[in-house]
C-alpha cells in the first residue's frame, strides 16, 4: 500500500485532506468508496427515472393538492400546479444528467483532437485564436442566443453547451501535447516510424488522458449548472417536462410564502449530482498521483 503525500514528518495519514485546488481529496481507503457512491448516484438517478413507476405520476397535476407540504403521500410535497415534487425531481434526472454528460462528451470528442494536433506553426496559432475567441464567450449568453437561433430542445442545449465547453479541452490537450512532444519516448516513437496520428494517441494522449478525464468530470458538473440556469430562465427544454432548473424557477415564487419544498428538493438533487462529479474528479486525481509516484 502506498504512502499518501501528506508531510512525511508525521506518520499519521489523515483521512480527509483538501487538495491545492480546494477539491476534496480522500485517503486511499475512502477514495474508492466515495467514488463508487458518486458513480452510483450519477448513473442511478437517471436509471431510476427511466424504470421507476412512481408512487405519484409526475405529469398529473392534482388541483386539490396545490402547494402541499411534504407528507405521507407526497414525500417532497407538491408544487404550484399540484404536481408531486418527489416524482418530478427524480424524473428530471432523466434529462438533466444525461444532457450534461452528453454535452461534456461532445466537447471532449471535438476539443481533444483539435488540441492534440494544433500545436505548431501558423495553423496551430490560428486555431488557438479561434478557440480563444470561443472561450471568451460568456456561457449563458451564448447558450441563450444559440438556443434562440436553433430552437429549444435537448439536442440544441447539448450542442450549445458543448461549443462553449470545448475550448477547455482544446487548451488542456494542447498543453499536454506541447509538454510531452519533447519527451524522449515521443522521439522514439517517431524514430520507429509511427505516424503523427499514432504518436498523438498512443503516446501523447495515453500519457495525458488523466487530466482530460478530471477536466471532463468537472465540465460535466459545470454543464449541469449551466443547464439548470438555462432552464431556470425558461430557455431550453420546455414544460411540462420536468427539469431541475425549471422546477427551481417555479418553486422560487413559493418561497416567499415560506413554502420551501418545491425549490429546495430539486436544488438538493442538483447539489448531490454536482458533488458526485467533483468526488469522481478528486478520485481520478488521486489515482493519477499515485501512478505518478510509482514511476
Amino acid at each position: 500500500m502506498s504512502v499518501q503525500s501528506a508531510p512525511p514528518t508525521s506518520a499519521s495519514i489523515r483521512a480527509v485532506r483538501w487538495s491545492r485546488r480546494g477539491r476534496l481529496r480522500l485517503g486511499a481507503r475512502w477514495n474508492g468508496i466515495a467514488a463508487t457512491i458518486a458513480v452510483i448516484v450519477i448513473i442511478g438517478l437517471p436509471v431510476l427515472a427511466l424504470i421507476g413507476p412512481y408512487p405519484i405520476d409526475p405529469f398529473r397535476p392534482d388541483p386539490n393538492a396545490i402547494g402541499i407540504a411534504p407528507n405521507g403521500v407526497h414525500w417532497f410535497g407538491t408544487d404550484g400546479n399540484g404536481m408531486d415534487v418527489f416524482a418530478r425531481t427524480i424524473e428530471a434526472a432523466k434529462l438533466d444528467v444525461p444532457i450534461s454528460v452528453a454535452a461534456t462528451l461532445l466537447a471532449l470528442v471535438v476539443g481533444v483532437p483539435i488540441g492534440l494536433f494544433a500545436t505548431t506553426g501558423r495553423v496551430g496559432d490560428a486555431v488557438m485564436r479561434v478557440v480563444d475567441a470561443f472561450a471568451a464567450l460568456p456561457i449563458i449568453v451564448i447558450a441563450i442566443v444559440a438556443i434562440q437561433l436553433m430552437g429549444g430542445g435537448a439536442w440544441n442545449v447539448i450542442l450549445a453547451i458543448a461549443i462553449v465547453g470545448a475550448p477547455r479541452f482544446v487548451r488542456l490537450s494542447r498543453a499536454s501535447a506541447i509538454a510531452l512532444r519533447s519527451s524522449r519516448y515521443v522521439e522514439a516513437a517517431v524514430a520507429i516510424g509511427c505516424s503523427p496520428l499514432r504518436v498523438a494517441f498512443n503516446h501523447v494522449f495515453r500519457n495525458a488522458y488523466g487530466v482530460v478525464l478530471v477536466q471532463a468530470t468537472l465540465t460535466a458538473a459545470n454543464a449541469l449548472g449551466t443547464i439548470a440556469a438555462l432552464n431556470f430562465l425558461g430557455v431550453g427544454v420546455n414544460p411540462p417536462v420536468p427539469t431541475w432548473g425549471a422546477m427551481i424557477s417555479d418553486g422560487a415564487s413559493m418561497l416567499i410564502r415560506g413554502e420551501w419544498w418545491a425549490a429546495a428538493f430539486p436544488t438538493l438533487a442538483m447539489l448531490l449530482v454536482i458533488a458526485s462529479f467533483n468526488v469522481i474528479a478528486g478520485a481520478i486525481e488521486n489515482r493519477i498521483e499515485r501512478v505518478e509516484r510509482a514511476r
Partner: protein, 274 residues
C-alpha cells in the same frame, strides 16, 4: 556502396533569445557496412545532432544524406516513415525513451505493428520474445512496465525495440552513459555480440574516450560542429595529431594503468603528502 554517405551536411538552430547556433557545420562522412564508427565530442560539439541528422529525425538545412543508396532528404515524410525499420536508434536515457504507460511487450512490438508485414499477433509475439531473449530478457518481461526495470534492463528494451525489425544500421547515442559501470561493460559486450551475429553497422556517439577505444574500429572527433580528426581508434586516441584531440586525450582519466595522485600533483606543481 557505403551504408551511410553524408556530404556537406549543415544544421543550424535558432536560439531562444535571438541569434543562431550552427550545430553541424558542413560535415561529410562515409560509413561502410559492418563498421563500428565512433563519434567523440564534448557537449555542444554537435555529435547528437549529427546522429539525428543521419536518420532525419532532424532535417538538415543543406547537404546530402544517403543511406543504403537512398537519398533521405528527398523522401516525403510518409515514404521516410516506411523506411524507418531499416535504420534505427538507441537513446541515452533508458527510462525516458520508453513510454511509461506501455508494457515491455507493447513497446517492442510497436515497430512491427507500424510497419506491418510481420504476420499476425502470434507471429509478432514470437518475434518480440525472441528479440528480447537475444538481449537477455526472459519472456517474463513482456507484461512488465518500464518503471519496474533496472536501468540496464530498460536500455536492453530500447535495444530490442531497435533491433526487432532487423535493421541494417543502428545509431547509438551514448547508450551506456546513464548506466552503472558494471552494467556498461556487459551492455557493450552484448552490443558487440549483436553486431557480429546480425551483421549490423553502428554509429556510436559518445563523450567517453575509454568506451569508444574498446568498442569502435574507426573514430572521428567532433568539435563545434566539425570533424577535427579521424582515423582508426589507435591513431586518433593513442597518437592524436590535432591540438584539440590531444587536449581531449590529456583530460582523460583512465584508472588503469595506474598513475596515481602523485603524478597529478606533480603536474599541478603543488606539494602534497600521500
Amino acid at each position: 556502396m557505403a551504408l551511410i554517405e553524408l556530404t556537406d551536411v549543415t544544421k543550424t538552430f535558432a536560439l531562444p533569445h535571438g541569434g543562431a547556433k550552427v550545430a553541424v557545420d558542413g560535415v561529410s562522412l562515409s560509413v561502410e557496412h559492418g563498421e563500428c564508427l565512433g563519434i567523440i565530442g564534448e557537449s555542444g560539439s554537435g555529435k547528437s545532432t549529427l546522429g539525428r541528422l543521419i536518420l532525419r529525425l532532424y532535417d538538415a538545412d543543406s547537404g546530402s544524406v544517403v543511406l543504403e543508396g537512398q537519398d533521405i532528404r528527398a523522401l516525403s515524410r510518409r515514404e521516410l516513415r516506411r523506411h524507418r525499420h531499416r535504420w534505427q536508434i538507441v537513446f541515452q536515457e533508458p527510462y525516458a525513451s520508453l513510454n511509461p504507460r506501455l508494457t515491455i511487450g507493447q513497446i517492442v512490438e510497436e515497430p512491427l505493428i507500424v510497419h506491418g508485414g510481420y504476420g499476425g499477433r502470434a507471429a509478432r509475439r514470437e518475434r518480440v520474445t525472441s528479440t528480447l531473449q537475444e538481449v537477455g530478457l526472459s519472456p517474463d518481461f513482456l507484461d512488465r512496465r518500464p518503471a519496474n526495470l533496472s536501468g540496464g534492463q530498460q536500455q536492453r528494451v530500447g535495444i530490442a525495440r531497435a533491433l526487432v525489425t532487423d535493421p541494417s544500421l543502428v545509431v547509438l547515442d551514448e547508450p551506456t552513459a546513464s548506466l552503472d559501470l558494471t552494467i556498461r561493460a556487459s551492455t557493450l559486450r552484448m552490443l558487440n555480440r549483436l553486431r557480429e551475429s546480425r551483421g549490423l553497422t553502428y554509429v556510436f556517439i559518445s563523450h567517453d574516450i575509454e568506451t569508444v577505444r574498446h568498442f569502435c574500429s574507426r573514430v572521428v572527433v567532433m568539435h563545434h560542429g566539425r570533424f577535427v580528426e579521424g582515423g582508426t581508434a589507435q591513431q586518433v586516441l593513442d597518437a592524436p595529431v590535432e591540438d584539440y584531440t590531444r587536449n581531449l586525450m590529456a583530460a582523460a582519466m583512465p584508472p588503469i594503468p595506474y598513475r596515481g595522485r602523485t603524478a597529478v600533483l606533480d603536474d599541478l606543481d603543488v606539494s602534497g603528502e600521500s
